[in-house]
């Protein structure tokens, strides 16, 4: 009997059933390394089901000597792996096991730290423009209106833009103000200043988040990457094989936000998070304005619309949202309170909007709202608890899991790490203070029991990631 066992050649559907029961990613990876037959089944399983998004992610960090740490916060285990990262790159997010990175020339790079594979995408032209503009703004402000206009025309040609944010109507001509731009005295001091400014600029001329529709190693010819970029936190996306980004907004920013005291908040700006949900991209802002974007796979068609969520999202139960509003109002008055928001797909497949409040660098509270379509009356309805679910939020493509599937995972909880740049609140240089913890919705309190030591807060500084094995 014993010799007749051909475990390696167990019918594929049985191997799939076994795999379906294997939940921690480590076990799936080990399964895939047993024999060629099992590996092919594991790869198939991985590709066909979105197994990936229902996994507890690891908290990944990197030490100076190119060692990556994968921290399982639920099992309290640490795995180490070699993690050489390309120089001069800034990590802006993670999605489906890939890191979204930007280099100094604003090229966007998808980098898989497990396979070492990298995909270089074209630069986000508008980010290049924003950066240049930010660097030159002081000089520009010294120019006369006419010179400014000429400068804009020149840039427009250089960047191939049809329209820039500034229009002729916004300006008053002042032909007398014709001063030369300041000479080259005090160069040393200037250089120092330049460096400092470059750092400052780096924190705004950036990608805030990136989300993939599919794993590029599984679907190399059929994936879309959408990002939130730039000063005005707008959206752009690129499909595999595209030569350039598509911007979901027809204006270049830069001039706009600097010349007008308060930029009009209209159109597609100031997004907080993106989610790929039910074959569409969704983006949300801090007040619950929701945008859906259907990107046709053969890319003949792009449909963008603002989902009609009345009263900035509180159409259905405005009363129960009052504490949320109070905090929003408070945050406008008190600069130490910062609020941001996330989009998550719940374990039941619903769309959740999760605003977060921080006091200085400490996360204090989360709210959870679910998108409800009440006979055409769409709105965010507050959820008091998440039941068995646990959310994993940060710079990553948001993840939710059933806590009971994973030993050590707390239900009704939100595992968070700060988005890297949120720490840049006034009066703090940012970067040094980094908060992470578990927010429990029942107790409305944060437990901070998986702090990493500061040496692990390099680039990328702690980010949730789902390991790939292909």
């Amino acid at each position: 009997m014993e010799d007749d066992c051909e475990w390696a050649w167990l019918p594929k559907d049985l191997l799939h059933s076994i795999l379906d029961q294997l939940l921690p990613m480590e076990d799936v990876i080990r399964f895939s390394a047993v024999c060629t037959e099992w590996r092919s089944v594991a790869v198939e399983n991985f590709e066909s089901r979105s197994l990936h998004r229902r996994q507890v992610p690891f908290l990944m960090s990197r030490t100076k000597d190119d060692i990556g740490n994968l921290h399982s916060v639920t099992q309290k285990k640490m795995y180490k792996f070699r993690f050489p990262m390309p120089d001069n790159m800034k990590c802006c997010g993670s999605s489906l096991g890939w890191l979204i990175m930007v280099d100094v020339t604003m090229d966007v790079i998808l980098f898989n730290p497990f396979s070492g594979n990298a995909i270089t995408l074209p630069p986000i032209r508008r980010l290049v423009f924003e950066k240049r503009y930010a660097l030159e703004v002081e000089d520009i402000l010294r120019l006369s209106a006419l010179q400014r206009y000429e400068y804009e025309i020149r840039l427009r040609e250089e960047y191939g833009e049809e329209e820039l944010g500034m229009s002729l109507d916004d300006m008053t001509f002042d032909l007398e103000d014709d001063d030369e731009i300041q000479g080259e005295e005090e160069t040393d001091e200037k250089e120092e200043k330049e460096e400092e400014r470059e750092r400052e600029i780096g924190s705004v001329c950036r990608i805030r988040k990136g989300v993939l529709s599919a794993d590029p190693s599984v679907c190399p010819d059929d994936y879309v990457l959408m990002v939130i970029y730039g000063v005005e936190e707008r959206l752009a996306f690129i499909k595999s094989g595209d030569e350039d980004w598509t911007y979901i907004d027809n204006k270049t920013s830069g001039f706009d936000y600097l010349f007008k005291k308060s930029p009009p908040v209209k159109g597609f700006r100031y997004f907080e998070d993106i989610l790929y949900w039910k074959s569409q991209f969704y983006a949300v802002d801090g007040l619950g304005k929701l945008l859906s974007c259907e990107i046709n796979t053969n890319f003949t068609n792009l449909r963008v619309k603002i989902v009609d969520v009345p009263m900035a999202g509180f159409g259905i139960d405005a009363t129960s949202s009052s504490t949320f509003f109070q905090q929003v109002v408070e945050s406008l008055r008190n600069i130490s309170i910062i609020w941001s928001a996330f989009l998550v797909e719940s374990v039941e497949g619903d769309l959740l909007w999760v605003p977060k409040f921080r006091f200085e660098f400490l996360t204090m509270k989360f709210y959870v709202y679910q998108l409800v379509d009440n006979g055409g009356n769409v709105g965010w309805v507050k959820k008091e608890d998440l039941g068995d679910a646990a959310l994993f939020l940060g710079d990553n493509h948001s993840i939710s899991v059933r806590a009971s599937d994973f030993p050590g995972c707390q239900p009704n909880s939100i595992y968070f790490v700060d988005k890297e740049n949120e720490t840049n609140y006034p009066g703090h240089s940012g970067g040094d203070h980094f908060d992470m913890g578990v927010y429990n919705l029942e107790h409305k309190a944060v437990a901070r029991d998986y702090q990493l030591n500061p040496s692990q807060m390099l680039n990328p500084s702690s980010i949730w990631i789902l390991p790939t094995f292909m």
């Binding site: 066992c5 390696a8 049985l14 921690p24 990876i29 399964f31 047993v34 060629t36 070492g116 094995f469």
Partner: protein
Amino acid sequence: MAFTKKVTLKSSDGELFIIDRAVALQSRTIQYVLEDTNPVDAIIPVPAVDARTLSKVLEYCKKHLIDLNTDFEDYSKWDKDFVDAEVWMLYDLIMAADYLHIPPLIDLICDKIASMFKGQTPDKIREIFNIDNDFSKEEEEDFKKKSGWAFK
């Protein structure tokens, strides 16, 4: 009732099992045979399953038929004991359950096998299940590089 309440199954090694029709109907394979041919008093051959395995499978079928009303706790304990078996026995059982098409039994055994994988290295899994490592040196190097972190 008009139809026979007993069914006779014949294992690969020729042993006969006379069982209640309701017990046999838990196997979708046998259910199809009965619906198709309605063999009154005929013997249904089960060529892929030997007597030892078949009797064990039928034990499961009987238990799950009779005890439909037992509470969940009790039931899962029995299941747990049922699959607490040697690796080769589990192999025979899962192949039989697959052939006879008894989905809850398949799930039960898959769950058991998955639990045996948990926390084990690929080497250890190969040892438990007597599987040859058929990767080439290059392949092995490649995914050791990619996912070696998970093997420790």
